[in-house]
């Protein structure tokens, strides 16, 4: 091969390798491209998400949205964190409530109040309390995209068999325990209730008993307060003393959802996302009610929010996209049709459509639960706190530590390792 040919060949090779670099990033003039990293659609709602985005692009021809969808389990967080750290943050990204606090505390997403003013978007479109849930230091930090609450799901057939009245909105721990005892007495492998013994459950249940993990000023932990010890004891007693809930051995790897569907669980706490599946699989009558409290009520609230990266070059377009995805009537309808959690708009007619869709009856409990929603503490080291407390609670669950020892140890370790 002559020298000229050889050089030509090498050049060609190099060119084919670097050519893709120039291909990307080229767009039609006047069209802005924004990237949206998201996880909550997963496989199940990928099609619905696609339709929502297509709607947006049809109405906004000057904005092109590139979806970057990953499943929750596919290392979504790891990849998102790495990209933000590497300076390649997507313009918009979806977070759940727990990560929302972690990202906001670290300044990865920008405040949105200015964009509300600039674009003339009204804050009143959103359901009551939802913008408060995504506010931090008085600033709105995200657009709530969807939410769900956790309610008490119960098997009416088992309640009837046990001749026990159905749960009501003002039920307390004692009422629930009494009913659970009667249902458990119905037979072998029939259980009154299922409430997991872990950190997430604990931080909510302590608030039903007038406790909390920190003092009001956030300067000290109160993990081992008398109310909290009493609460953990109550959670443990359901398994070991009253035996209305299966031990891990008795549960034998069976998911709680399957136990409920099989008619083996009287009461089960779960989110509204379970309804679709229950509608398909459950053959007995079932109902829902607000979760029982003790001194007060406290419920879990889950939300997925859309954030705008601090580094985006197109904040206005991204804002337009995120608010469209949360509030556009057609998008909201798509979400309702897919039963993909709940839309965040305040429009009562939208909610009426949701409430009318039964079973279960009494869907108003889903919305009423929102009044008692508790937020996890806003802490830079929140994940570490979760791990510290959860490890000790698991030891108590398995009978290795008493409720008091577990929480004393958690308090000591949290105080040592976590800066407040």
């Amino acid at each position: 091969m002559c020298k000229g040919k050889r050089i030509g060949l090498v050049l060609l090779l190099v060119l084919t390798m670097v050519a893709p670099l120039f291909g990307a990033g080229q767009a039609e003039p006047g069209v802005v491209t924004i990237r949206y990293a998201n996880f909550s659609a997963g496989e199940h709602n990928a099609e619905t998400l696609r339709k929502m985005v297509d709607l947006f692009m049809a109405k906004n021809p000057n904005i092109k949205v590139e979806l970057e969808s990953m499943g929750y389990g596919d290392n979504y967080w790891t990849s998102l964190i790495t990209r933000i750290a590497g300076g390649d943050a997507p313009d918009a990204f979806e977070l759940n409530m727990e990560q929302f606090l972690a990202f906001t505390l670290r300044g990865s997403n920008r405040p949105l109040d200015e964009l509300f003013t600039k674009t003339g978007m009204s804050k009143n479109v959103f359901g009551e309390g939802l913008l408060d849930a995504v506010s931090f230091n008085g600033k709105v930090m995200a657009i709530p995209q969807s939410f769900s609450t956790v309610v008490l799901i119960y098997n009416k057939a088992l309640f009837d068999q046990a001749k026990t009245p159905y749960p009501t909105a003002d039920w307390t721990w004692d009422d629930a325990l009494e009913a659970a005892k009667k249902i458990t007495a119905l037979g072998k492998d029939i259980w009154g209730a299922y409430n997991p013994i872990q950190f997430w459950e604990f931080y909510k249940v302590v608030q039903q008993n007038g406790g909390g993990l920190m003092t009001a000023d956030g300067k000290q932990f109160t993990i081992n307060s008398p109310q909290n010890i009493e609460t953990l004891q109550y959670m443990l007693d359901r398994v070991w003393k009253h035996h209305v809930m299966p031990t891990r051995e008795e549960q034998a790897n069976r998911p709680e959802g399957d136990m409920f569907v099989d008619g083996k669980l009287g009461m089960w706490l779960n989110g509204v996302w379970a309804f679709t599946d229950l509608k398909d699989r459950v053959t007995f009558p079932w109902g829902i009610e607000m979760e029982p409290g003790n001194l007060s009520k406290a419920t879990h609230f889950f939300g997925n929010v859309g954030c705008i990266s601090t580094t985006t070059k197109h904040p206005e377009e991204t804002f337009k996209f995120l608010t469209f995805m949360a509030t556009d009537p057609d998008v909201v309808q798509l979400r309702l049709d897919a039963q993909w959690e709940l839309p965040t708009v305040g429009d009562p007619t939208v909610m009426e459509r949701y409430l009318a869709d039964t079973p279960p009856d009494n869907k108003i409990a889903v919305l009423n639960s929102l009044q008692y929603a508790v937020k996890p503490p806003a802490l830079l080291q929140f994940s570490e706190l979760t791990n510290i407390v959860n490890t000790k609670i698991e030891l108590a669950r398995d009978g290795e530590l008493t409720a008091k020892d577990a929480l004393d140890q958690a308090q000591a370790e949290a105080t040592e390792k976590i800066k407040l």
Binding site: A85, S383, E394
Partner: protein, 297 residues
């Protein structure tokens, strides 16, 4: 670096080595070097770069100070003490068996190698059932002998042996293949000589086979200690470090600190401590090598 030969030869050498050196530098040397720098910083990946702080040895001091480090290394030692003897014995046995002539040998080879290429997620799924306290086949088997087996993965003491069993099952085929290659390399005349001298089958194994494969077993030991200290995948998918932290190991903590706690500096410090521990362990093994490894020539 000195490279002999003509100029052309040297250029060719560099051209051929370049891709390997390039990826070595880019994917190994640079990350290792940057993790050393990171270990001296307080670096939260979600925060702006201006928040990065130099903290000297603070990450290392904290790691040494907390209870965690001691616990993690005890767990990893527990794993090593169980896993290494077991996997070496089973893979040697398997190799010796496969070294004989018998019917459908290829089929056995394939079957025994299958677990090696199975993904850990699938293995974990199966073994979680096998190890189930009530309905698991292992405990049902034990019950036949009147032994009440533990609830393996839910028990603080027995979770690690549970993981080890799954790991041994999965890895045996791989190491057996390496030992088998070593067995094939033993000249037949040694066995003939031993037989003429009246050595029994066991004595042949003990005084001919074992010494001659000892360099291979040594290699496997070194590899296994290194890999064992870095155990992660199996634990992550089988127990996630539980129950109640009973199977937390250093690499799991590296991952957790980096991507759950956003403490890249601290995670790097844990990784460096682990690296140093592994280097020390390997040096000790090489020092002990002459005590039991025999080389033919």
């Amino acid at each position: 670096m000195y490279i002999g030969g003509t100029r052309q030869k040297r250029i060719a050498l560099i051209v051929f080595l370049a891709p390997a050196i390039f990826s070595l530098v880019l994917f190994y040397i640079l990350p290792i070097a940057s993790s050393l720098v990171l270990s001296l910083l307080e670096y939260d990946p979600l925060r702006p770069a201006s928040d990065i702080k130099f903290v000297g040895l603070k990450n290392f001091i904290e790691y040494f100070k907390y209870q965690d480090m001691r616990e993690q290394y005890l767990h990893v030692l527990y794993y090593l003490v169980l896993y290494i003897p077991l996997v070496l014995v089973t893979s040697t046995m398997e190799a010796v068996m496969l070294n004989r002539a018998f019917k459908a040998k290829t089929l056995y080879k394939v079957l025994l190698y299958l677990p090696v290429i199975t993904s850990w997620v699938a293995v974990a799924l199966i073994w979680r059932w096998l190890l189930h306290g009530e309905y698991g086949i292992i405990n049902i088997f034990l019950r036949k002998f009147g032994i009440q087996g533990p609830s393996w993965l839910h028990n603080k003491l027995w979770a690690m042996p549970g993981v080890v069993m799954a790991a041994v099952w999965k890895d045996t085929g791989y190491y057996a293949l390496i030992i088998l290659a070593a067995l094939k390399g033993i000249e037949h005349s040694y066995y003939e000589a031993a037989r003429i001298d009246g050595a029994s089958a066991f004595k042949q194994f003990r005084y001919v086979t074992l010494p001659l494969v000892s360099p291979t077993i040594f290699l496997l030991l070194v590899i296994n200690v290194i890999a064992g200290f870095q155990v992660f995948e199996s634990i992550y998918v089988m127990t996630e470090g539980g129950p109640a932290g009973a199977t937390r190991v250093p690499v799991e903590q590296v991952y957790r600190n980096a991507f759950t706690y956003y403490k890249m500096g601290y995670a790097s410090a844990i990784a460096w401590v682990l690296g140093i521990v592994i280097i020390i362990a390997t040096i000790i093994q090489f020092r002990m090598e002459k005590l039991w490894v025999s080389y033919e020539s």
